[in-house]
Structures are given as C-alpha cells and as structure tokens.
C-alpha cells in the first residue's frame, strides 16, 4: 500500500523535469522545419501525446486482460484509470491535431487526416466506455464489462486504422515510414525527449488518480465498517 505512494514524488519530479527539458529543447534546440516553419513545433507535442494516449489504452487493456485472466485484485481500477488518462490525452491529441491542421492546411478539421479520424473514432469509443461503466452498479459485473469493452478497444485500434486507410486519400504527412524516421538527428532526439516527458506525465497522472481512487475506496470501506 505504501510503495506506490512513496514512488509518486519521484515520478512527479521526473515528469516535471522532462516536460521542462522537452519544452526547452523544442524551442531552443530543435531546428526550425524548412518546409512548415515554426508551426511544425507542435509536432513535438502532438505526436508524443497521441502515442501516450495509445500507450494508456494499451496499458488499460493489459490490466483488463489481467483482471479477466488472473483475477488480479485492483486491476479493474488500474484499467479504468489508464483509460481515463488515455481519453484525456486523446482529447489533447484531437485539440493539437486540429490546431496543426489549421496552421498547415488552413482548416480546423480534415477527414483526410487518418490519425485525426482514428482518434475521433477512439474518442467516441472510449467515451462510451465511461457510459457503460457509469450505467452498471459497482461490483464484479461492472469490472467484467469494463474489462471486456477495454479489450474490444485494442482490437478496434488496428481495425479502424486499416478502415480509415482504406477509406481515405493520403494527405497526412507520414513521418515514420518503413525506411525509418524522416527527421534529422536533432529533431529525433527532441522528439524522443518529448515522448519520454509525455509518458512520464501520463504515468504521474495515473498514479495520482489511482491513489485518490484507492483512498476513496478505503474511506468508503471504513464508513461502512463504522455504520
């Protein structure tokens, strides 16, 4: 019980340091993009945030699998918290993507951007996850439903990706191709620091939310014991 709480300050400090370092690197170290200029800087936030959202959804699904498979106690709560953070990062992805689309293509939304459309689908899907969770009473059944639906999510990500690829033309810049990242070394280093910053930030937020939720649960238990 005490170990996650004692790790939290260290994690938070790491996240803070990495976010500060990432911001400094983005604006003072990474070269200005020859093609898109200053607006390309949002790439260093948009893409790591998107990858972090995927990471959260994946982690949530992994915990869901552990809940169903090993009946690990607490896995349901961890899965929920990870997906909650995933939805927050997903909303940020939509927001930053929309700003980037405005800056480089002149429109707030484009259906030909595969990643944005995929995130919209996932965002709708995971919002429905919350609707499902809040319409079932707390208990083993709710844990099972949430876990199964979270597993549907990881199947939906590649299937939707394929669907959207099939459905659209290809204006969205593909930075990572099979030939490796199309970036200079400085840009790639900045990108990696940004990714680490976002991942550590997500981990910190998860840990904070999780400790709050655990405290809430314990409080409820104590209240019931006293009543």
């Amino acid at each position: 019980m005490s170990s996650p709480n004692s790790r939290l300050p260290a994690l938070a400090t790491l996240a803070l340091g990495l976010v500060a370092a990432a911001t400094a690197l983005v604006f003072f170290f990474a070269p200005v993009d020859a093609d898109q200029g200053l607006s390309q800087k949002i790439f260093y936030f948009h893409v790591p945030i998107a990858l972090t959202a995927y990471g959260c959804f994946g982690w949530g699904a992994w915990k869901a699998l552990l809940h169903l498979w090993k009946r690990e106690p607490g896995a349901d709560l961890e899965s929920y918290v990870a997906i909650h953070q995933g939805v927050i990062f997903g909303a940020l992805t939509l927001l930053t993507g929309s700003i980037w689309a405005r800056a480089s293509w002149g429109v707030w939304w484009t259906w030909s951007s595969n990643q944005l459309v995929l995130f919209l689908v996932l965002f709708l899907f995971y919002c429905a996850y919350f609707m499902l969770r809040f319409s079932v009473d707390a208990g083993p059944q709710r844990a099972n439903f949430s876990a199964v639906y979270a597993l549907f999510g990881v199947a939906l990500i590649p299937v939707s990706f394929l669907a959207i690829r099939l459905a659209s033309d290809f204006i969205h810049p593909t930075v990572f191709t099979s030939a490796g990242p199309q970036m200079s070394g400085k840009m790639f280093f900045t990108f990696c620091v940004c990714l680490a910053a976002m991942l550590s930030l997500a981990a910190t937020l998860c840990a904070v939310e999780l400790s709050g939720k655990r405290l809430d649960l314990r409080l409820r238990e104590l209240r019931e014991a006293l009543a």
Binding site: M131, F145, L151, V159, I164, L166, A167
Partner: protein
Amino acid sequence: MSYTRDVGALARKDFLLELRARDTLPAMLLFVIATLVVFHFALPTGSSDLASNGLLWVAILFTALLGLGRAFVPEREQGVLDGLVLAPCDRSAIWLAKSLAVLGFLAAVEVVALPAFAIFFSGVDGTTVAAVALADLGICAVGTFLAAMAAAGRARELLLPLLFLPLAIPIVVGGVGASVVANGGRYLAFLALYDAVFAIICWASFEYVVTE
C-alpha cells in the same frame, strides 16, 4: 455434437418466440421502409447514386440496432438469462444462438429492403449483396454481445447505440467501399477480417458478460 445442439435449441427458441409474438420483425421491416422513404426526401434532386448507396448502409445499421435493442428483452423480462447461465452448456452458446437469431431477422428484413432500395433508388450489384452478407455477420456478432451488456445496465436503450456505433464504423467503411468502388474485393476482405477478429473476441469473452 452437444455444442451445436445447444446453439440450435437456443436459436430455435428465439425464432419460435418471434413466430408467436411477432414483435421484432414487423417493426424492423416497417422501420427500414420508412427510413428509405425519409432518405428519398433527404437527398435533393441531382444527388448521385453514390450518396444513396451510402445511405443504404445507414439504413441497415439503424435497422439492425432496432432489432438488437429488442434481442435480450424477453430474457430480461422473464429472468431467462439466470436460467441459461445455470444450464449445463457452454456460455458462448448463448451468444452464438442469439447472434444467429438476430442474423436471421436481419437477413429477412434485407430480403425486402434490398429490392425496395433497388426500386426506390438505384440497382444493387453482386458486390453490394456480398458486402451486406459479410457486414451482417459482424453487426450481429458485435451487436448481440453489446446488447447483452447494455441489457444489464441502467440506461439500456440509450446505451446500446453508444456502445455499438463506434465499433460499427469499420463495417460502414467496408460496406460503403464495396458498394461504391468499382473493384470492391479488398473491402470485402476487410469485412471478412473484421468479422473474424470480433467474432473470436466475442466468442471467447462472452462468459464474463453473463457470469461474475
């Protein structure tokens, strides 16, 4: 094999119930025809056949939702699900049988809806029919699974479309692609992939939906 016998018995129960009560199929039929009439007025003169092809998929999806919303009503009202879970059969048989029953209803509706669409709007080609058949499998597999979850929630009628529509977007992409693109083979393959992936997940995890 006892598994197929269980599935057969459960699906027969649903068909028999529908034959006697007739509360789902006529509603779905009326709904799909009414939807097509609404689409006629929603499409201004001069809209292409491609637009009406897209709307066919909207009609199919929403008609299926109507049927899916009713799928677990008898089980819920009569407390049948507890009995089925107690019965000595594999739990996934409950899902498979219900999916087959919904598939039967949906196919029966489409036997009327596709010719009606061809008369009202534009002809339906073989690829579209194949896409409809493949999409039906996916719709029924995923939809039945989600309907079972939604039936246990508080806001069940509200919940099912919310749970189902994001998962149905790939079906719409595959279906519309197959009916509007000249060479729709890869869209059919995509629909088949969707069916396989989600049918396996549903089949493997249905046990957790009905048990604790």
